[in-house]
């Protein structure tokens, strides 16, 4: 029997990019292999849910949980892994704050099923068949997990010890976190306080972005295909929406450096509950409000005109943080935040 600490990694509603991000730490993966014994890792090793159910509580030292909570199966796995893990990490944007799958909270389960299974040009479904939790076939009963109305972050269904942001987290950040964990497990080194956000900075993406800022105010927003940005200059100050001011650093400001605005995948800054609201105030601070002494009504019109040139502020400023935001979900067809899928 090995005395090595036990590591688990699980995916719920996710894309697999988080697993790729771990592989992208390169040869450091061999150190991880050296230090840990795997206890559950459906991506790369054959441990079954049944094995995990058989572990004593707290058997897994560190569990990296990625993916949002989209189905009943996702939630069941979250409860099981919480019970069996000493340290549960919400790994990546989906588990941390809902990420892209939580854009689904702007719509409803009914509309989703309607679009996917009834109403598109390639569908062939004259009998209006929908996936069912239980289907009787000639040979027996087939089951599927139920599809929730609302996408949730991991901490909306279980307690979470740490959050590791990013879509996906950048490899150097992942390694930095693993080093701390390894040091704590092997040498009794200190762990960050429970509830901490790890593997990320404490300032805004702007602080690590090399593009030059000139405190310039803008009068109009451009869609990214409507403008050729001046190289080397801040995109937001050129009227291209960039969520950098409302987003935690840690990625290295990769997107702005290829001329594309940040979309906020590292989540909100410390002490900011709502990334979208923070971004609105950042936008307000760069919008030109005209000269002192101008007519108030004209000013308001000007501001409104600038704000109208913003496309889809909800889906852009909450691109990754919808599940965790104050919005949580937009009411559609009477489905509130907990509509239809309370525990």
């Amino acid at each position: 029997m090995s005395e090595k600490p036990k590591l688990a990694m699980y995916w719920a509603a996710s894309c697999g990019g988080c697993e790729i991000s771990v592989l992208n730490i390169g040869d450091k993966i061999l150190v991880v292999d050296d230090v840990f014994d795997l206890a559950f890792f459906p991506c790369i090793a054959d441990f079954k849910v049944k094995d995990v159910e058989g572990y004593p509580d707290g058997y897994i030292d560190v569990c990296l949980f990625n993916g949002a909570i989209r189905t009943s199966e996702n939630e069941e796995m979250a409860h099981l892994l919480r019970q069996k893990s000493k340290v549960l990490v919400a790994y990546g944007s989906c588990a941390y704050e809902g990420c892209i799958p939580a854009l689904s909270n702007l719509t409803s389960k009914e509309d989703t099923f309607n679009t996917v299974y009834f109403d598109n040009p390639s569908i062939d479904n004259p009998d209006k068949t929908l996936p069912l939790v239980e289907t009787e076939v000639a040979e027996g009963t087939l089951t599927l997990p139920s599809f929730y109305h609302t996408v949730k972050s991991l901490d909306q269904v279980v307690d979470v010890d740490y959050y590791l942001p990013g879509c996906p987290p950048e490899p150097p950040q992942i390694w930095a976190v693993l080093e701390v964990v390894v040091n704590a497990l092997i040498n009794g080194g200190p762990l960050p306080p429970a509830g901490s956000i790890v593997g990320a900075g404490t300032v805004a993406v702007c602080e690590e972005c090399p593009l030059e800022k000139n405190v310039k105010s803008i009068t109009e927003f451009y869609r990214p295909y409507e403008i050729q940005p001046e190289p080397g200059l801040c995109l937001l100050e050129q009227g291209i929406v960039c969520v950098g001011p409302a987003t935690r650093s840690g990625c290295g400001a990769l997107c702005p450096q290829v001329g594309m605005g940040c979309r906020g995948c590292y989540g909100p800054l410390d002490d900011v509950e709502d990334q979208g609201a923070k971004m609105l105030s950042a936008i307000a601070s760069v919008v030109s409000v005209g000269d002192a002494g101008e007519d108030e009504e004209e000013l308001e019109e000007k501001i409104n005109a600038v704000m109208d040139s913003l496309a889809d502020p909800a889906g852009t400023f909450y691109r990754f943080s919808m599940a965790h935001s104050m919005l949580k979900r937009v009411k559609v067809n009477g489905n509130g935040a907990n509509g239809g899928d309370t525990k």
């Binding site: 996710s14 894309c15 790729i20 795997l38 090793a45 054959d46 854009l103 068949t129 295909y225």
Partner: protein, 500 residues
């Protein structure tokens, strides 16, 4: 009735589940491949600005985000009625071929290769990338990792990020390639071509030189006579980035050839209540159940399919490899075209032919003077309405279809994703393997797991996205219940210590 459950087979967006039902005689009555997850991109993208799609839909798959990114970008070209310049197309296609090099390499060495290089009957603990390394040498393992690293480097430079790129724009690309970057890429490309040639030699030396393996490839258990789909250029050569969609019938005749925008006239998607994943089929043949042959609209979209649907490869060394592939597998030429190869396990070889093509094509593009054109981000002023974009994802033809209002806000989205094309063929392959291996109540334990896994894995389904990792095995478990619902046997693919 006995019931065999394989759960998880590993994932698409979650994991798949295979149910096998035995009849009173103990033979396989039926099998079901169930996909238990849906995320609903087609609905939640409605209301988003269209230009965000390449960076939203890449979150469908973190292993092949480049495919969604490029298909989405091409859908924007059509949506905004803007024809990209030839230099923009070259930058995108070069980026896309760099992705193909990493993806096909990883699949062959980590996933598909172990079955052959180490052997289909080798202990599970050895049938992984480490087993491959032991067999062919440590330097090869390093070469595989280096191939992955150097091409991900290209992807990050050109696409902006290592995972989930951001550079695609309607008619353009946000990142121009500098002269210094071009010089660096040239070296990378030469290494890629050398590595692809070496990989084909590994296949030659280890697989083709072994009659047992050749017999396995040719075995009926892994053979289905279906229609094949792939994208071809103006010479009917394979192209990953652009061209016409071509469908050939089980006898090798061209059945249809159409621009991607006409996909809905040719492909229909069937819904079954026991899976969240739809089952596409050829509309003009019709749905005839999970069967193969001329009368069944089931088609396949994989590396093997692309070769079968084409007349050849557009680069010289890959064309040589293409000819050798068909000649060796006993295919004859009729009307200048090779007859299709229906052996599903030959898909692994076809993937290596494509790897060589991707490496050669990337090299051609990197050496093209236009690749460093600084003007790759045009200003687009056209009014958007509707557009279809398509590429060959490694796992099949990928189609994105968008509709917007006049402000470019999405009103409707339809996606047919690579692996989805192969949902019905995979179901059929699993059934055939199960039928061959379970007779009269006899379950060939290890063989069942291995062969079902092989039947499944040659498609490189996105369920195995994440098994694009070191051990290269899919977690498989078979539980057998008797008619009273009592568990009588449980088989598992892995040893307890299986890890990175």
């Amino acid at each position: 009735m006995k019931r065999v459950t394989i759960d998880p087979i590993t994932r698409l967006e979650g994991h798949g589940k295979i149910e096998i039902f035995l009849n009173e005689e103990g033979d396989v009555e039926n099998t079901y491949l169930q996909i238990p997850e849906l995320r609903g991109f087609e609905q939640f993208c409605v209301g988003r600005p269209a230009e965000e799609m390449p960076r939203i839909t890449n979150r469908i798959c973190g292993v092949c985000p480049e495919a969604h990114h490029v298909a989405g970008t091409k859908a924007l070209d059509a949506l905004f009625h803007v024809e990209p310049s030839s230099s923009v197309k070259k930058v995108r296609e070069m980026f896309y071929n760099a992705f193909y090099v990493t993806d096909h390499t990883t699949h062959f060495y980590a996933l598909g290769g172990p079955d052959f290089v180490v052997g289909p009957d080798a202990p599970a603990a050895e049938r992984n990338i480490l087993g491959v390394v032991h067999k062919v040498g440590v330097e090869i393992g390093k070469e595989v990792i280096d191939t992955r690293i150097r091409n991900h480097h290209v992807i990050k430079i050109v696409g902006g990020r290592g995972v989930h790129p951001v550079a695609g724009l309607p008619g353009g690309w946000s990142k121009a390639i500098t002269n210094e970057e071009q010089e660096e890429f040239k070296e990378i490309c030469q290494k890629n071509v050398d590595f692809a040639l070496f990989s084909l030699k590994v296949f030659d030396d280890i697989v083709l030189a072994n009659q047992d393996y050749v017999d396995l490839i040719l075995a009926d258990t892994f053979t289905h006579r279906t229609y094949y789909m792939g994208t071809v250029d103006e010479h009917n050569h394979v192209n990953f980035y652009d061209g016409m969609i071509r469908v050939t019938d089980p006898e090798g005749k061209e059945f249809a050839k159409y621009p991607a925008k006409d996909y809905a006239e040719h492909v229909a998607e069937r819904v079954e209540s026991w899976s969240y994943l739809k089952f596409p089929y050829l509309k003009n043949v019709g749905w005839n159940g999970f069967t193969d042959g001329m009368e069944s609209g089931i088609y396949c979209a994989t590396p093997l399919s692309r070769l079968n649907a084409s007349d050849g490869m557009a680069t010289p060394k890959a064309q040589e490899a293409f000819e050798k592939f068909y000649e060796t597998l006993g295919s004859k030429k009729t009307n200048g075209r090779y007859e299709p190869v229906h052996h599903r396990l030959a898909t692994h070889w076809a993937r290596l032919v494509e790897l060589l093509y991707a490496a050669e094509r990337m090299q051609e593009l990197v050496n093209d003077p236009e690749i460093t054109d600084p003007n790759v981000r045009p200003i687009v002023t056209n009014t958007p309405d509707e557009g279809v974009g398509s590429v060959e994802a490694p796992r099949g033809t990928l189609t994105h279809h968008y509709w917007t209002d006049e402000n470019g806000i999405l009103t409707k989205v339809n996606l047919i994703v690579g692996t989805t094309n192969n949902n019905a063929p995979i179901t059929m392959s699993v059934k055939k393997a199960a039928k061959t291996l379970i007779t009269k109540g006899t379950v060939i334990t290890d063989g069942l797991l291995n062969r079902i896994e092989m039947a499944f894995r040659n498609y490189d389904p996105c369920m195995s996205c994440a098994t694009h990792s070191l051990p290269g095995q899919m977690p498989l478990e078979v539980v057998i219940w008797d008619s009273d619902g009592k568990e009588v046997e449980k088989l598992s693919q892995f040893t307890d210590n299986q890890r990175v």
